[in-house]
C-alpha cells in the first residue's frame, strides 16, 4: 500500500484551553457553582493562613517594638493578711546584677482618680494610680502620644500622665494647665498621655504620678510593687533566675519574676496549633469542593455523549477527548482556586484591618492554594475524562 502513514495532528495549546472551557461556556451557572465549592475551601485555607500570618506579623512587630529582654519583678501572692511588697533596696540590688541594662519601677497607690470633684466616690472607672519613676518610659519603651512624661521637676508637683484608655475614660484629650483631673482629693494637671502599650496593657488603664509627689500627697509607702528590668539580649536567661533572690534576699519565694514577651510568644504557639486545626478544616472543605467538581464532570460526560461522539467523528482521538475533559476539570478548579485566593485575601484584609493589623498573606499560601486546586481538579477530572475517552463513538452518537 502506497498510502502515507496516518498520524493525528496535535492540538494547539490555545485550542486545548478553548475546548476545555466549552462546558463552562455552555453551562456557566453549573460551572460557577461547582467552582464555588473549591473557592470556599481555598478561601478558608488562605484566610486561615493569612489571618494567622497577619497575627504573627503583629506579634513580631510588638515583640520587636518592646523587646523580648524586659523582665518584671513583683511581690508574689501573700498567704497571710500582711500586704506583700518589695524591699526599698530591691531596685539598687537589681541594677548591680551583671547584664542588667536599666531598671525602673512603679508603686501602686490606693488613690482614686475622677474626671472632676462631682463624681461619686465609687465610680473610679477601673483606673489605677501608680507612683512612677522618671525613667519608666525608657525601660518599658512607652512613649507619650500627647505632652511629655514626668520629669524630676514636674514629678514634685501635682501633675499626672495618663494611660491611653484612662485618658479616654476620663475624657481627657489634651494636656496643659487647663487639663485637670480630680486625683486623691485634689486637682492634678495632666502633662502627658501615653500611646497604647501592647506589652504591658495594664498601663493603658494607669495614671502616673511622680514618686515624691505620690509620697507627699497620696499616702504612698514608697515600696515598689513592680520593678521593670531591661537585660542585655544575651543575658536575659542568666539574669532571670537571679532576680527573685536579688529583689528579696530574705524571701525569694515571695517574688514573681516574669517576662511579658513570653505571653506573646506563647500566644503565637497556641495560634500555630489552632492554625493547623483550621487548615485541616479548610482542607476538608476543599475536598468537598473537589467532590463537587468530580460530580459535575461525571454528569457533564453523561450529558455530552453526543458531543463526544461528534468530536470523535470529526477526528478527535481518545487522548484528545480525555484531555478536553481533564482540561475542563482543571479549568473549573483553577477558576475556583483563583476566586478562593482572592476571597481568602479579602477575608484576611477585612479581619486584619478590623484588628488594625497589617494584612499579610504569604506567597506560599497563594501558590499552595492554586497548586492544591490543580491537584484536586486533576483528581476530580481523571475518572470522568477516562470514561469519556473510552466511550465508543457509535454508542456516544446513538440517540439517548
Amino acid at each position: 500500500m502506497s498510502a502515507p502513514r496516518l498520524k493525528p495532528a496535535r492540538m494547539w495549546p490555545a485550542d486545548v484551553i478553548r475546548v476545555g472551557g466549552y462546558g463552562l461556556r455552555s453551562r456557566p451557572l453549573r460551572g460557577i457553582l461547582s467552582a464555588l465549592g473549591i473557592a470556599i475551601g481555598i478561601a478558608a485555607m488562605v484566610g486561615v493562613v493569612g489571618i494567622s500570618a497577619s497575627s504573627a506579623h503583629e506579634i513580631e512587630r510588638r515583640l520587636s517594638a518592646f523587646g523580648t529582654n524586659l523582665l518584671t519583678v513583683s511581690p508574689g501572692q501573700s498567704f497571710g493578711d500582711e500586704p506583700v511588697h518589695l524591699p526599698d533596696t530591691a531596685i539598687g540590688m537589681i541594677t548591680a546584677i551583671p547584664g542588667v541594662e536599666s531598671v525602673s519601677a512603679v508603686g501602686r497607690t490606693e488613690a482614686r482618680i475622677y474626671r472632676n470633684d462631682h463624681i461619686p466616690e465609687r465610680q473610679t472607672g477601673g483606673i489605677i494610680v501608680y507612683a512612677a519613676r522618671t525613667d519608666l518610659p525608657s525601660v518599658i519603651r512607652s512613649r507619650t502620644a500627647v505632652g511629655a512624661w514626668l520629669t524630676e521637676a514636674t514629678g514634685r508637683y501635682p501633675t499626672v500622665v495618663l494611660g491611653s484608655a484612662a485618658a479616654s475614660s476620663l475624657a481627657v484629650i489634651e494636656t496643659g494647665p487647663d487639663s485637670l483631673v480630680w486625683l486623691g482629693g485634689r486637682w492634678f494637671t495632666v502633662v502627658g498621655i501615653l500611646a497604647p502599650n501592647d506589652l504591658i496593657s495594664d498601663f493603658d488603664y494607669g495614671a502616673f504620678v511622680g514618686w515624691p509627689e505620690a509620697r507627699a500627697q497620696l499616702a504612698f509607702d514608697g515600696h515598689p510593687t513592680t520593678i521593670y528590668t531591661r537585660a542585655a539580649e544575651s543575658a536575659v536567661t542568666t539574669v532571670q533566675p537571679l532576680l527573685g533572690a536579688t529583689a528579696n534576699p530574705e524571701d525569694p519565694g515571695e517574688v514573681d519574676v516574669s517576662r511579658p514577651s513570653d505571653a506573646l510568644a506563647a500566644k503565637q504557639e497556641t495560634e500555630k496549633t489552632l492554625r493547623a486545626l483550621l487548615l485541616g478544616l479548610g482542607g476538608v472543605a476543599l475536598l468537598v469542593g473537589g467532590v463537587g467538581v468530580a460530580n459535575t464532570m461525571v454528569i457533564s460526560v453523561l450529558e455530552r455523549r453526543s458531543e463526544i461522539g461528534l468530536r470523535r467523528s470529526l477526528g478527535a482521538t481518545r487522548g484528545q477527548i480525555r484531555t478536553q475533559f481533564l482540561a475542563e476539570a482543571l479549568l473549573l478548579s483553577l477558576l475556583g482556586g483563583l476566586g478562593g485566593v482572592v476571597l481568602g485575601i479579602g477575608i484576611t484584609a477585612i479581619f486584619a484591618t478590623a484588628q488594625s493589623w497589617s494584612t499579610v498573606v504569604p506567597a506560599w499560601a497563594m501558590a499552595g492554594g492554586i497548586l492544591a486546586t490543580l491537584f484536586i481538579g486533576g483528581l476530580a477530572g481523571f475518572y470522568p475524562a477516562v470514561r469519556a475517552a473510552r466511550m465508543p463513538p457509535t454508542e456516544a452518537l446513538a440517540n439517548p
Partner: protein, 224 residues
C-alpha cells in the same frame, strides 16, 4: 490517489446474537453519489458507522481511501476520519450557544490547522451552503434546514473526499429537505463522494446509484 474510496468485502457486524450487517460487499468509486436505503433496523446506520470507521466490523475486510482499516490503530482511524471523512447526522449535533461560524470551524479542529485559518475556511463553507448572512447566529436562531446546512458545512470543511450522511433530511420538512439534498448534490458535483442513508424512497430514486438493505444484507443494487 486512485482506486475505490470504499471497499467492503464480506463485512459483518454482530451485536451479540443480532446480526446488524451480514457479509456485505460494496465498492464505491471516487466521486460517486449513492443512496443506501432500507427499512428501519435494516442495518443502514451500522453500514455508515463501519464505512465511517466509527465502529469496527466483526468479520470481513474494509478499505477506506486505500487504507486497510483492520490494520489501523484507534489513533490512526481518528486521523483518517479527520482528513478523509465528513459526517452529517439526522440530529444536527450543533453545540447550543455557539455561533455558526465557530461550530463550522470545529470541523477542522482536529486537523492541526490554526484557528484563524479554520475560521476563514468556515466562513467560506458557510457562504457555500448559502448561510453567509448567518455567521454569528446561534443554533436556536436558525431553522431546521439552516441548522442541517451548518452541519453540512462543518462536515465538508477541509474538503474530505468522502461525505457520509445518515438520514440528513429525517428531521426536516420537505422544502428544507430538498434544499439540503440540492446542497449534497452540489458537493457531489464538486467531486466529493457522497453516501446518503435514507429510508425515503423518493429521495433515493433520483440518485444515480441505490444500495438496498434488508435484514442486514445488501438485497439489491440499482444504477441509473
Amino acid at each position: 490517489m486512485s482506486g475505490p474510496i470504499v471497499h467492503l468485502a464480506g463485512v459483518s457486524k454482530r451485536y451479540g446474537s443480532i446480526s446488524a450487517l451480514d457479509s456485505a460487499d460494496l465498492l464505491i468509486e471516487r466521486g460517486e453519489l449513492l443512496a443506501v436505503v432500507g427499512p428501519s433496523g435494516s442495518g443502514k446506520s451500522t453500514l455508515l458507522n463501519i464505512i465511517g470507521t466509527l465502529a469496527r466490523p466483526t468479520a470481513g475486510s474494509l478499505e477506506i481511501d486505500g487504507y486497510d482499516v483492520a490494520g489501523l490503530s484507534d489513533r490512526e482511524l481518528s486521523a483518517l476520519r479527520a482528513r478523509t471523512i465528513g459526517f452529517v447526522f439526522q440530529q444536527f449535533h450543533l453545540a447550543p450557544g455557539v455561533p455558526a461560524l465557530d461550530i463550522v470551524a470545529d470541523g477542522l479542529l482536529y486537523g492541526g490547522k490554526q484557528r484563524g485559518y479554520r475560521r476563514r475556511e468556515a466562513e467560506r463553507a458557510l457562504r457555500r451552503v448559502g448561510l453567509g448572512h448567518r455567521l454569528q447566529h446561534l443554533p436556536h436562531q436558525l431553522s431546521g434546514g439552516e441548522q442541517q446546512r451548518v452541519a453540512v458545512a462543518r462536515a465538508v470543511l477541509g474538503d474530505p473526499p468522502l461525505l457520509m450522511a445518515d438520514e440528513p433530511t429525517g428531521n426536516l420538512d420537505s422544502v428544507s429537505g430538498a434544499a439540503v439534498m440540492d446542497l449534497l448534490r452540489e458537493l457531489h458535483g464538486g467531486g466529493t463522494t457522497v453516501v446518503i442513508i435514507t429510508h425515503d424512497r423518493d429521495i433515493a430514486s433520483v440518485l444515480p446509484r441505490e444500495v438496498r438493505l434488508k435484514d442486514g444484507k445488501i438485497a439489491e443494487e440499482v444504477r441509473r
